[in-house]
Each structure stands twice: as C-alpha cells, then as structure tokens.
Amino acid sequence: MTALAKQEYTYTISKGDTLWGLANEYTRINKGVSHAEAQKRILNLNPSLTAANMKAGQVIVLPFAKASSMAAKTPRTGYEKWQDTVKQGISDVKWDEHDSIIRSAVAEFNTRLGKKSVYVEKPMPALNWLWIKAIIWVESGGPTNASWGSRPMQIGNPGDPAHGVLKAQAEGSGIIMDKTLTSNINAINTPKINIQAGTAYLLTRLSKSMMKSVLSQTDKKEKSYTVVAGDSLDKISRKCNTTVDVLKQYNPKHVKLIRPGDKLKYYTAKIERVIVGWHSVSAKVIAKQYNSELVDKSYTTKLTYVMDEIFPNLIRNSK
C-alpha cells in the first residue's frame, strides 16, 4: 500500500473485498463516521467505482491505510528483507561484537597513513570507523550468519578478487597494509585480520596513486657521474640506479643539454608507486570504489540507511 497524500492510500482489491466491507473497516478506524459516509468517501476518491464493478486486482484509493491485509499479501522485496535483517541490530548488542577490533584497526590506519611518508605524499583524512561497521552490517547478515565469526567483512570469500589484490600487494595495497597485516594476510578467516584486510582494501580503493621518482631510503649517499659521448639522461639513470627526475632536480643547468665531461650529481632512486591523493568518503564513493556498484545498484542506499537510520537509533543499555 502506498501513501498518496494525507489520508489517501492506494490499495489493490483482493478476492472477497466489498464496498460494504471496506466501509466497515473505515468506520472501525474512524469512530463517529457513519457507514454511509464511509462509502461516500471511498466512492468520492474513486469516481468510476461502484459496489458492482469491484474486481480483484483493481487498484483503488482508500481514505485509510488497510495495512493488516496488505502486510500479509504483498511479498517483501529483497531490500525490505535486508532491512528486516539489519533492524535486528537496533536492539541486539551482539551486532556490536566487532566494534573494538574495528576501532583499533581504523585508528592504526589513521595514525600511519594520516601523515606524510616516502610513499604517502598526501596524508589520508581520518576515516570514521562507523563506515567499516556499516559495511559489515550491510554485507554480513549479522551475528546469526556463519561468516560473522570468521569473515565479517566478507574479504576472502571463495573467489573474492579483493583478497587476491591484497595478497599480491597490487593496486597500491602494499603501501596501505602494515608489515603485520601483510605477513598475516592468509589468516583471512579470523575476524581481526578480516576486518583489517577489509579496511585495507577499502583504503586501497580510496587512494589515488601514481608512479613517481622515490629516493632510496637505504642508500642516501650523494654520488657523481661524468657524462661520456652518446649519453642521455635516460641512459645515465639506468646506468646509475637513479631516475631522470633526480638527475634533473639535482642538475638544473643540464636539464636541456649534457656534454661529455659534464659532472652530474645524483642519489640512488627508482620509479615507484606513491599515494598522491584520496577520494572523499561517502556512501556513494564507497559503493563505487569498494563494491563496484555497477552491479549492485542498492549498495549506496543500504550504506546510507545503516549510517543515517539505524546507527542513530541503536538501543543499548550503556546509553
């Protein structure tokens, strides 16, 4: 049943419905309205309707919500069934079981990636841990689901491409993960690693990276090279384990022209992936980057629903 305006609702006539019966129901809800008046109000909303031409399946407008019969007759949509599941978390504290793991995982990422480093040129804006909690609520099916105690973020489900990306340290995930997570990535069926891995994959997809010249962190000694005939900056960079960018940066006079005998200053460097920016976080961006909303168009709606409608209404004894 769909609400149209104040006190107007669409209703699909079922077998056995009569104008008399509908009016009867209306008088029960609206005490003081006579049966004749109730019939008149229904007919006023449906000018072509008569007691004789009512047919099952016909859609009419009613001045009241005939909810009891509709609830039983309208099949629940997939989204409504999903809503029913996550609503259980409003009063069931078991849905908070992973909160401490989520908080500590997100805090670690926020601390490490929230500051500049060799591979993080642009520090990460702090991630709200509730986004991770929301992803878990959206995807897991809750504490009664078998994967809740092992893979709450669903990373590592058989065939999951995200786990493959993390294992290969691809797409920039090698920068996102710390050494401990990298070495434990195969223990994906433990909630702690699963949540850390899921968060790492989300941050990988939120990061923007590009290949840049990076100075060696182990060999910081200044070196010199004398140009010989046939050299180019590209050739020299390959000979000296450095990059064209470093040669240009430390030898600004020789950017355009080098001659045999010129002495060039350089440091050991190589071209590596560097994080240069971050996507701003929103339900839409998470859906697009993390879940490929190209296939599941409802992911944004579900994340938004959990963040805006469920989390603010949690009933917890401690509150």
Binding site: W82, T85, V138, E139, S140, G141, N145, S147, R151, Q154, N157, P158, G159, D160, P161, A162, A170, E171, G172, T204, R205, S207, K208, S209, M210, M211, R273, V276, K288, Q289, N291, S292, L294, V295, D296, S298, Y299, K302
Partner: protein, 169 residues
C-alpha cells in the same frame, strides 16, 4: 577475322567473369571463418576456459564479445566478463575486459570498477566514465592499445567527442 576477334573478346569476358567469381568464391569462406572465430561467444568462451581465465568459485553472470580492436592491421577481440562472488548479503563482483589475439590467446586483462566499457575504435577501447589500470593514475575513458595489445595508454576525451561506431565489430 571479325568473328575471331569477337570470339576472343567474349572468351576474355567470360574468363574475367569466371576469374572474378573464383576470386569471390575463394575468398569468402576465409573471411567467414575469421568472422566466426573472432566474434563467436562460444568459441571465445572455450578459448578462455582453456586459459583458466574464469574463477571456479565465482558465478559467471555476463560474458560478451564487446568489440574487436585493430592494432597494426591485426584483429584483437575484446571480451567483457562479470563474475559474482558468492557469500555476502550483497553481491560482490569481479569485472574485467580480456583482450585476445587472432589465435585467441589472452594478451591483456584489465579489471574495472568505476566505468563501463563501450566499444572499440581502431586500436582504442572507449569507456563510459573514467577508469584507471591497476588503480594507478592517469584515469581516462580512452584506452589506446599498442605492441600487440600488451601496452595500454590511458587518456581522457570529452564524451561528446567520442568517435562514432561506423560499423559495430
């Protein structure tokens, strides 16, 4: 003499027609076979199965021959694959385009998340939306293939200026 001349001319005409017919007859099956091999979904699917492109744990929900790239006069069919990963309450998917050479050997695979592959134009694959390779900048809606489809250069073009599909491949 005149009759002989006419006879020779008409014989020549018949020979030319016959030659033309033989030419068409001889070439047509070769072209047909090539079209079937490079466009046929079943043939492409079987080639990808043999090369273990599909993940046995995922559910294949889309398999289509998207288009055919033409790189230095060689043809490279492009296949669009979407697989579902089972397990979560919301489906997680693995999306990729796979480029094969004319012998149906896989030469390139590109995972995508944020854009939809549209069609080929010569050696370019065009997208709706911006997409990166390996989550690495630059992002763009034009992927230009070279070196037997092994190399890809990503660039961005105003969607209004995307070239026409003169003849869908």
């Amino acid at each position: 003499m005149i009759y002989l001349g006419r006879f020779l001319l008409s014989s020549l005409g018949v020979a030319c027609l016959f030659g033309l017919f033989m030419n068409v007859w001889a070439k047509e099956p070769v072209q047909s076979v090539e079209k079937v091999v490079l466009n046929d979904r079943v043939t492409l699917y079987e080639a990808l199965v043999k090369q273990n492109v599909f993940n046995q744990h995922r559910k294949l929900i889309k398999f289509s021959h998207l288009c055919t790239l033409v790189i230095e006069n060689e043809r490279y069919p492009v296949v669009d694959i979407v697989e579902h990963v089972k397990g979560a309450q919301v489906p997680r998917s693995a999306l990729q385009v796979v480029v094969l050479d004319a012998s149906l050997k896989v030469v390139n695979k590109i995972s995508y998340h944020t854009a939809v592959p549209l069609y080929c134009h010569k050696n370019q694959l065009l997208w709706s939306g911006l997409q990166m390779i390996d989550n690495l900048y630059p992002e763009g809606n034009v992927f230009t293939f070279s070196d037997k489809a092994e190399k890809v250069a990503v660039s961005e073009m105003n969607p209004n200026n995307l070239p026409n599909q003169n003849r869908p491949q």
